[in-house]
Symmetry: C2
Subunit: 101 residues, 2 copies
């Protein structure tokens, strides 16, 4: 599993718009065969901050995701709502094993 955490800070007036656009992207992304999870988290003490936790079954799945209409729609919309460029950190899983995702 290849796990990507994307950190986003949104302009305060666009928090709800970002949540809507990102939940829509997540709903479509979890239908991709190469995506095990696509969680969207909002920080409790700063609601303008989000983490997307994207769990890909392999590196090809990440490339495929970037070709989808839902990803591209999200990217264009979300970038217009952000307060600064998003950052990402890549992880691999120590726990659980592949079947636990």
């Amino acid at each position: 599993m290849l796990i990507v955490q994307v950190h986003v800070r949104v302009q305060p007036e666009f928090v709800e718009a970002f949540k809507e656009a990102t939940a829509e992207n997540a709903r479509n992304s979890v239908k991709e065969p190469g995506i095990a999870r696509f969680d969207v988290l909002q920080q409790q003490d700063d609601p303008t901050r989000f983490v997307l936790v994207e769990v890909y079954r392999n590196i090809d799945a990440q490339a495929s995701h970037r070709e989808t209409v839902h990803y591209r729609t999200w990217r264009d919309r979300a970038e217009s709502l952000m307060a600064e460029p998003r950052t990402r950190v890549i992880y691999h899983a120590v726990f659980p094993a592949d079947e636990g995702w």
Copy 2:
């Protein structure tokens, strides 16, 4: 859902020991009824950095977790392996809904 991400940096010589101790804690933690997930992630470009993604069904579940023997055993062991105090960020879920965890 209450999601806690715990960020840990481990002393380089203790990376494997930390992985073992933390996977053991995770295996026991996911058996707690109030814990939906307990993922352990290792950063790809810096293997001394980890994130624990702890998904609690409610705040009481987090309090219960801290009373368990496996948590306390992990805490004492893990603290001796860290390069610096761990930090945590608390989130709530935008996606998926409760039943998706």
